[in-house]
Amino acid sequence: MDDELRRGFYRQMVRIRTYEEAIRGDYHADKTPAWDIGAGLIPGEMHLAAGQEPVAVGLCAHLTADDALTAPHRPHHLALAKGVDMRKMTAEIYGRETGLGRGKGGHMHLFDQHFSCSGIIAEGMPVAVGQAFAFHRRGTTNVAVAVAGEGAANQGAFHESLNLASLWKLPVVFVIEDNDWAISVPRDASTSVPSNATRAAAYGVAGERVEGNDIEAVYQAAGRAVTRARAGEGPTLLEVHTVRLWGHFEGDAQAYRGDELAVAESHDPIPAYEAKLRADGVLDDAAVQAIRAEAAAEVADAIAFAKSSPEPSPAAAYEHVFV
């Protein structure tokens, strides 16, 4: 694999992690002394994706601005990898007038050109099917990607979406981020098969599971899926076994994880990939420093933009119900 590509993977993962660490910091910063979910610079639920960067980065490396992606409640890594404007999404998360949704959506509802979210489990999947339908009817080679967690794969919308996309041979890539947990419920307490990739057979589509949270394996598998979709060969169900390094949402004490948490924490994909690229001579100290500095600067700029942006005026609450 090309060095520049691998460095790019690393750069994008660092960028995303740097972003989420910053958001995490600001999220908790002014919820003191009594922690209050509704208080502070960033209120509301906050689902961060630390550990899951390989999925977003390996996948989105194959997508253009005109391809579509629907993300679930945990969307930042996907948004950033897909190319959503960092300033505007940050402003949205901070509830500002300059945000993607003028402060109306919030972190679970980031909408950009060909990027959307749903806070309802699995319900972003049918929307991606419809986007693929539109691409297909218009004769483009664009693809639509639906991303969901392994917990989401037990929801009816998963089944209906897979069947429909397969039936109509639509250019959809279904990506399951299997981070072992749906809030406090482990996969084996929710899912009757060990791998969701098995379920591809129920729809006559290609199925693949990538183990090891390995960005290069994700990149390759996603490449096969996207190529298939662009070639008119229909959908793929791709599951990636990844890791949730932090709580389900910020503030989650994770008592239910027990010993597994320490194991998970030792599987952070970013240091592991960094070590690999260093060993392969693709990265050195200077490159790592530069990448981190670049990420820090971009994130700082985006947050500064958000913080300095005006809050929406209360009267704006009444706008945009209808066109």
Binding site: L100, G101, F111, S118, P126, V127, E160, N163, L164, V323
Partner: protein, 346 residues
């Protein structure tokens, strides 16, 4: 294209059923705009269980008139995705009673994306669905439920009572950049296999025209009592009003046509004159449309009413099957008549 509220004189003599008026509206919009397409269960070869898409497959072929699996969440969601990409889907939910298998797409997605996106994304989609009872189809196939959809903001809700409005409202709905829920009562469709309601066949101009969404019509002017209704019940109200006119009681009958936006002004203006109101609503009585009309008046000026607010609605029971049971609870002409006469103080 003409935006008008009244049948154009020229073609006013051509009479269509409501079903035919709807399919004609869809066909004309499909000819005009290649982004319009239809999707749903049995909309193609079958022509729609209630005839709203009859003939369209022949005219437009299976790439634009699309039968779906029984996967309402899947295909309504797909409609939303297509709309987000700029297409203009018309999706049929066969009976409104099935909304529970797909309400998340309807309400958390179709209705809210525009708002959540701060106006950046539009969802120009029509969801059409059959409503209503009166033919013993039981508790899961006979409801109206417009109150349910109207309660949750983000959807326009239109409900024609006659062929003319059906065509014009469908054209408006397709052209509207907002999601529109288009609810047709099976009894207004003019179907050959249902009880015949003469008002379900009527003059429809051949040319394209819009009936504005959000504007009620005074279907029959009158001075004594305001009767507010919609859909099949509106036809019943007109029948009753005609009868009462012969007895010297002049009811003013208002056809809401849209539930969202609700034309509160037209109601208030009429009640301001008559001081008396009967709301006739085949949807469940409590916590719905009829209550909202009461609130509209009471918020404006409770002194407007010179007689108690009166509703002829579906009492709060599921729809029973057997005919004597169902006709006990439907807003029948007899119940409507009794209510008007009683409110009028005759």
């Amino acid at each position: 294209m003409t935006v008008t509220d009244q049948p154009a004189a020229a073609s006013a003599t051509r009479r269509l059923t409501t079903a035919k008026a709807i399919s004609e509206a869809i066909a004309q919009e499909m000819e005009r705009d290649p982004e319009v397409f239809v999707m749903g269960e049995d909309v193609a070869a079958y022509g729609g269980i209630f005839g709203a898409t009859t003939g369209l497959l022949d005219q437009f072929g299976p790439t634009r008139i699309i039968d779906t699996p029984i996967s309402e969440t899947g295909f309504i969601g797909a409609g939303i995705g297509a709309a987000v990409e700029g297409m203009r889907p018309i999706v049929e939910l066969m009976f409104v009673d099935f909304f529970g298998v797909c309400m998340d797409q309807i309400y958390n997605h179709m209705a809210k994306i525009h708002y959540e996106s701060g106006g950046n994304v539009t969802v120009p989609m029509v969801l059409m669905t059959a409503v209503g009872g009166g033919y013993s189809d039981g508790a899961q196939h006979s409801q109206c439920l417009w109150g349910t959809f109207a309660h949750m903001p983000g959807l326009k809700v239109v409900v024609p009572s006659n062929p003319y409005d059906a065509k014009g409202l469908m054209i408006s709905a397709i052209r509207d950049d907002n999601p529109v829920l288009y609810m047709f009562h099976k009894g207004v469709m003019g179907l050959p296999w249902m009880a015949k309601n003469p008002r379900s066949i009527g003059p429809v101009p051949e040319e394209s025209y819009e009936v504005p969404i959000g504007k009620a019509a005074v279907a029959r002017p009158g001075r004594d009592v305001t009767v507010v209704s919609l859909s099949l019940s509106l036809q019943r109200c007109l029948d009753v009003a005609d009868e009462l006119a012969g007895e010297g009681l002049e009811a003013e009958v208002i056809d809401l046509r849209s539930v969202v936006p609700l034309d509160r002004q037209t109601i208030l203006e009429s009640v301001g004159r008559t001081g008396k109101i009967v709301v006739v609503d085949e949807d469940y009585r409590s916590f719905g449309l009829s209550g909202e009309i009461a609130a509209t008046i009471a918020e404006s000026d409770p002194g407007l009413l010179r007689a108690p607010f009166t509703r002829v609605a579906y009492p709060d029971v599921p729809v029973p099957y057997a005919r004597p049971l169902e006709y006990e609870v439907l807003p029948t002409p007899r119940r409507i008549r009794d209510a008007i006469v009683s409110v009028a103080g005759r």
